[in-house]
């Protein structure tokens, strides 16, 4: 954004729409390239919760499953205290 454009009111919103387009496109392509949809990701999260719960107690925090740049699926699973320690 040049000084003159600022001066004449050429700039408006903080995020110009070109940047918004770029960020939306990056996200949608992560899913396209992984052949996944956000809904499938939710399903995967539920499946992970189920699978992990069979072995350990889950903690209170949210289980998060994210698709990261470069096609990496990353899960964050808060664990509770081990069952044996509980009693």
């Amino acid at each position: 954004m040049s000084f003159l454009q600022r001066l004449f009111g050429g700039s408006r919103s903080p995020a110009a729409s070109g940047e918004v387009a770029r960020d939306r496109l990056k996200l949608v392509l992560e899913y396209d390239r992984a052949k996944l949809t956000p809904a499938q990701l939710d399903q995967i999260r539920d499946d992970i919760i189920e699978a992990i719960s069979r072995h350990v107690t889950l903690g209170n925090g949210q289980v998060e499953v994210k698709l990261e740049a470069g096609g990496r699926l990353v899960a964050e699973i808060p664990l509770g205290r081990a069952a044996s320690d509980k009693q």
Binding site: S2, G10, S17, G18, E19, V28, D32, R33
Partner: protein, 278 residues
């Protein structure tokens, strides 16, 4: 770099329709021929022919690709020579048939026959990723991918890159079409760098939005034939790069966007544009 003797076969494709494949095919053909090269432009949009109209050759079509496929005439004899540009010719599509009437093998056969007579065979691909696309890509030594800097078009382009590579072809080079400098300057259009960063392909050229394309297309006169047209210049640069020359990308400058654009362009160079990897 093609393994076979003869000219190089280049397919112009896209994911989304209407992004400028036919315009690019006609103008790259004109621009290569203007460099003294022999070019056959092939309308691969069988059943929806329009390259003949864009090139202004519609009244001279006698034979089309289907005649060649059916063996009625040799590929070379079916070519319509463009009288305005020495060395330029067109193989028209059939307006009444369906794209399924031609197979990838037949398309390869036709283009292999043509490459013995020319330096470049340029195939204008239909939109989509169906049979017509597969037909157009099958004969290619190289694929050129056209997109506009819009979310939907770039998304579809990404899909096509995967399909081109899956077909065993080299990664396509990109033509970014209909760049609007004034929108880029105020941040309301993705930049060349954004699109290249996202698609991870190399750039063949950047073509600005140019109103003279409409007039040129109305007249059946590709802009590469019109002196002083910015889009025409961009296509000449693309042809030079295809021919192996190292030409810098055109700067994307704000020209006719009224007082503000003109004043601000006095104060700084245009934003980065027709530049980058090649």
């Amino acid at each position: 770099m093609n393994g076979t003797a003869g000219g190089r076969i280049i397919t112009i494709t896209s994911g989304k329709g209407g992004v400028g494949k036919t315009t690019a095919s006609a103008n790259i053909g004109v621009a290569l021929a203007r460099r003294g090269l022999r070019v056959a432009v092939v309308d691969g949009d069988i059943g929806l022919r329009n390259l003949d109209v864009v090139m202004g050759l519609e009244n001279r079509v006698v034979y089309n690709i289907l005649h060649v496929v059916r063996g009625a005439v040799d590929a070379e004899r079916a070519l319509i020579r463009d009288k305005r540009v020495a060395g330029l010719s067109l193989l028209a599509a059939d307006q009444h048939s369906d794209k399924d009437d031609v197979s990838p093998e037949e398309m390869i056969e036709v283009c292999e026959a043509l490459r013995n007579h020319v330096d470049y065979v340029i195939i204008d691909s239909p939109a989509g990723i169906e049979q017509g696309f597969r037909n157009a890509v099958a004969p290619a030594d190289e694929v050129v991918l056209v997109t506009t800097p819009e979310v939907s078009a770039v998304r579809d382009a990404d899909r096509v890159i995967g399909l081109v590579e899956a077909a065993g072809k080299p990664s396509p080079r990109l033509v970014l079409n209909r760049i609007k400098p004034e929108l880029v300057a105020r941040g309301d259009m993705m930049t060349t760098e954004d699109v290249l960063d996202i698609l991870r392909v190399s750039i063949l050229g950047v073509v600005p939005e140019d109103g003279s394309i409409v007039a040129a297309t109305n007249r059946g006169e590709p802009v590469a034939l019109v002196d002083g047209s910015r889009a025409g210049q961009a296509f000449h640069n693309i042809a030079a790069r295809i021919a192996g020359e190292d030409v810098p990308l055109l700067p994307i400058t704000v020209e006719d966007t009224g007082l503000l654009g003109r004043i601000s362009s006095l104060f700084r160079a245009g934003p980065a544009a027709d530049g980058g990897r090649s």
